[in-house]
Symmetry: C2
Subunit: 249 residues, 2 copies
Amino acid sequence: MQDSHTSESTQKTIEETIVSGILSAKIRPGTRLSENQLAALFSVSRTRVREAMMRLETRGIVHVSPRRGWFVVEPSGEEAIAVYEARRVIEAGLLRSMRVLTDEGREALGAHLNEEKSAMAAGDRQRLTYLMGDFHIRIAELSGNAIIVDILRDLTARTILISMLYQSEFHAAQSHDGHCRIFEAMQAGDFVRAAELSIEHLDEVETGLDLTTRPDPLSELRSSLSLPPKTVSSAPTVRPQKPQIQRSN
Amino acid sequence: MQDSHTSESTQKTIEETIVSGILSAKIRPGTRLSENQLAALFSVSRTRVREAMMRLETRGIVHVSPRRGWFVVEPSGEEAIAVYEARRVIEAGLLRSMRVLTDEGREALGAHLNEEKSAMAAGDRQRLTYLMGDFHIRIAELSGNAIIVDILRDLTARTILISMLYQSEFHAAQSHDGHCRIFEAMQAGDFVRAAELSIEHLDEVETGLDLTTRPDPLSELRSSLSLPPKTVSSAPTVRPQKPQIQRSN
DNA sequence: CTTTCCTGTCTTGTATGCAAGATAGCCACA
DNA sequence: TGTGGCTATCTTGCATACAAGACAGGAAAG
């Protein structure tokens, strides 16, 4: 487990627990995160929970609806596109900047791909989701640049939320193939090719999304009434929260 | 002024004030940011100041030394290298992903370069520092991708802190030339060339730094005593804070 | 003169209390 | 049946109080 910003024992725990919950697809987009519940769960006061939420908010993972609550973000279609675009830019830029694949690197990625394969064989979908995202983080770790690792980790978390919202079926085999091809290019020392493959791979995944569905159930009604399409990054605006199961303390 | 995450009136003010203070080189690295002082300055309680600090910390702008205080980060030599590397990766990736330069884009960049020129003529160094950083943010804005804009804004802020620490002289003319060349390539529609120029430009700036000096005045002593080189991203460790002028409430 | 220790005062860390918006459920009423 | 409005209770927003570590300065001892 890389660190990049270790230290602070209890504090980061809430934050990291939530992020890793998302990375392993155990927390769905739109999930309500009650300050009181989290405080009770982690045996701390709301103060510290709030700090964690603030941090997660600046990381684009969580969102607050004033006096209504904190929610795991539900990226809109436009935001989803922006996330994939950002990933293409950064991941391709990263691969292009690489010059060598070290022995450790080759071993790490190879081991990872084997894990993907065995998770596919076992049909363990949650684990698979985690591994599919983690592959890209692993590549970033090869660069040794903690800044890029952190950025990509957060983007990967958002990607997973996006696929939980918009992905109709899970083309695990296709993704795995994409990863393998990238790895092969890297082994061949052809990082330009690896960058291109990485872009294609992300395009494939993005194409597999159906961005016309879910997150704004009123979109059809809204457009038939010809109201403004939707507030993109601006905040309040009612945004009808889909009924959550959780029921507060 | 782009927005990307507008809304929240008072709250973001503290955060944005500090960031823009850094972007315009009015706040030096290592500056102490007392919760009490900021609270008084903005007429709010420490609670809200703390929230702003937490956010800035996750953005890599600010750093807390437990029970000692908040400080604007003083990037180490390694961190400085990582910041430049991350910028090369992202900015080159971004330019490579571009396909067209719109008329508005050409106009915006052209106007910006004129501003650079006039600031150089006027010898307004603070303004020049701001503009030199802002050029890169402007390019990101052309992409219309708010995620990348935010990332690059924060990296630019760090870059400015780095140059305040390590830059012996300010080669404004050289930087300006670099910007002009990038702009020309973009106008010619040659974004691959623009990406290459962007990398060269960042290399130039990075080369102009003297990473052997400042931020850890004890480094020579430390190495002559053969102590561990320095805690990189881990926290406490005494790290003798250089005497600050400010004196608290 | 140097060293050690002690104490006052600064800082942040954390919990708690109160204010106020948002919502759901109910009741009255048409 | 449907509609409007009231109220009880949830939520977060924000300020404040207190705890506890860090540090500086001075006094006392060597």
